[in-house]
Symmetry: none
Subunit: 213 residues, 4 copies
């Protein structure tokens, strides 16, 4: 009874999560436009019609995924804000970004999201919001961090540093897509992070590379 209660109280939320999980799995495998609603329903183990009880249409599913992405980033941001050092904050913010699931998942998803955003203002708004929030958050962290302050950081303002850091992160994410399938997730991640971290060290004059085994 407690079980049925649980599933009755917020059934729609569970369903939405279930559908979005399935959707992201499909989207990563085949991209937004190559994924049919039937694909999603099969992946989720439900009927096609049911998806339409929870989402107005396919666009809405995509938008919801963008929304979820936004929440994910916000959580990372909160965790990062707790970190003792700026460096650790950066690790939290950009490492999770690329090691979640199976190979390339994040990269493909995010690039697809941007690709969508370029034609769909609703998605663009969400993605822009995510990015703005995240960049503002990092700007704030940088402004408060002693590393950035005491060391001249090349005379760059916190928001300029944040811009650079995010730009490199996005750029390496695109790069990740081109990596050959044979490369393991770990290898790809290492490659992706190496460049990103190189920028951090450069910006904040962190000395040794040994810190990141």
């Amino acid at each position: 009874m407690s079980d049925s209660a649980t599933s009755t109280v917020e059934p729609s939320l569970d369903r939405r999560v279930q559908i979005l999980d399935a959707a992201i799995a499909c989207f990563v495998k085949h991209g937004f436009h190559q994924t049919s609603m039937h694909d999603i329903s099969t992946e989720a183990g439900i009927s096609v019609g049911l998806i339409y009880r929870y989402f107005a249409n396919k666009e809405a599913v995509i938008a919801a995924m963008a929304d979820r992405h936004k929440k994910h980033i916000q959580e990372l941001l909160e965790q990062a804000a707790q970190a003792p050092t700026l460096f650790e904050a950066l690790e939290i913010l950009f490492t999770a970004h690329c090691c979640d699931e199976s190979p390339k998942v994040q990269s493909m998803f995010v690039v697809d999201l941007y690709s969508q955003a370029s034609r769909n203002p609703q998605i663009a708004d969400i993605v822009r919001d995510v990015l703005t929030t995240a960049m503002d958050g990092l700007t704030e962290l940088i402004a408060q961090s002693p590393e950035a302050k005491t060391q001249a950081a090349h005379g760059l303002k916190p928001n300029e540093l944040s811009e650079l850091i995010f730009a490199v992160a996005r750029g390496m994410l695109m790069f990740d897509i081109l990596q050959p399938q044979e490369m393991t997730a770990a290898e790809r991640r290492t490659r992706q992070l190496a460049v990103t971290r190189r920028l951090w060290r450069l910006l904040f004059k962190i000395e040794s590379e040994s810190a990141y085994a």
Copy 2:
């Protein structure tokens, strides 16, 4: 008559160009998968069937566009190699990149290309080839440039510098997609380049910002 002769010698080449021009116009407006062959034929002012005399199928059109993108980048690379200073080489390489045509064209096209690449190995190969060639080219330029040599460049190797520069360029290209439509091409371009140039100055210790009005 000599003119008509010229156009008769290689009609197919002209047609291919015409079709690719139309295709890129459509793809930029609606993305790869939202563009139908009919859209392309209409944009090109020809019949649908004619496209198939020049391209095996839609995939082949996309691949040809990727190929053309590759040649474009290679030309830029050659021009950049002629530049007197490293700084000017960078300007050539990354400025043309984002001001060719109407707003966002380049950004949307390239992000779409990467999105395609993530599911289409043939496209991935082409894009990877473009990037590798371009990065190697820049690495070479950096290695030969006095700016990078005399100044320690933070102890980074030429290829590491190249990686960073390209990562930021790609990242700003993604960023460009999110810019509101209201922003003019010039504004967007300024924004995009500002961050990129900030990295160059930082890497190569170029002093004043005044150089780039």
Copy 3:
């Protein structure tokens, strides 16, 4: 309600039958390649898309029709096996063959099927299977029949007799196609059977023609 239950238990089977009925109607009218999926859907009174819920593609529809033809022949074979005399068995086997439906239906369908078979191994397999089964069946019937045994049947073995009988039946089926449209189904059938029966009498020394008014 029990009725509606019946139709709900196996709706897909009914649909398949409905589609195949429509398909055969179209194929007979225009041939395999002249029949579009739209034609079939219209004939069946359903939408095009629905056909694809029951058949993978057009080829599959043709294959299913060949399959159905096979079952039809097998039923005839079973009925023929029950017949008291060899002669009656032959009547069952080869008379139904050519009087089912509207004029020429069987003939056109079967010749089309062979035409398909010549280019489509899957169809060829089915048709060959039908024929082999039917010929073996008749060989068996002949082997057991007193008519064939007591009378020397010209020294031919049962399978040789069966081969001849089927060859003539197929040959007359081709002949049927050439009959002018004006001829009634009955006339055509009479003509077609006359030759076939002439062979039977010849092979099994049946005396009078009067038996087949």
Copy 4:
């Protein structure tokens, strides 16, 4: 000059032959409807447009092929009429029928022709004409042959014998289509002729099988 004269006097005839040769090659390989005009032009080594100088449309090509088939049969008939014995006449008439070219060519072509005839009255007329002429011809040969006369031939009239003989020939031609590709042309031909000859012996009381090595 004599050469160019030759090719100028009746160029259209040569072209027609060339095109028909190409057409039959294509039709045999892929069937009527699977063969495009482009296929034919390529096979013939000419341009598509040129075909339309010699044939009104695709239908006309098919009709011309039927016509040529008719002439081929008529030639056989004339040869057969010269044969010293009925048996040899039959050999001429039905052996050439199945050994012309590469495997199955004749069978596939003829069955396709009948398939076409069932929907195209023009083709039907031609094919019917061929058949009528040939059957009448054989009837005549039988009527004049001592074999058929002196021996009761089971009391069948010449035209009835002819009907049976042609029916079996057509039937074995259909059978040929189902033969597996692995079988050599010779094997298939042997199989096909064995049944046909069995009927002849039966009808005309030819004693030994040894005659047909």
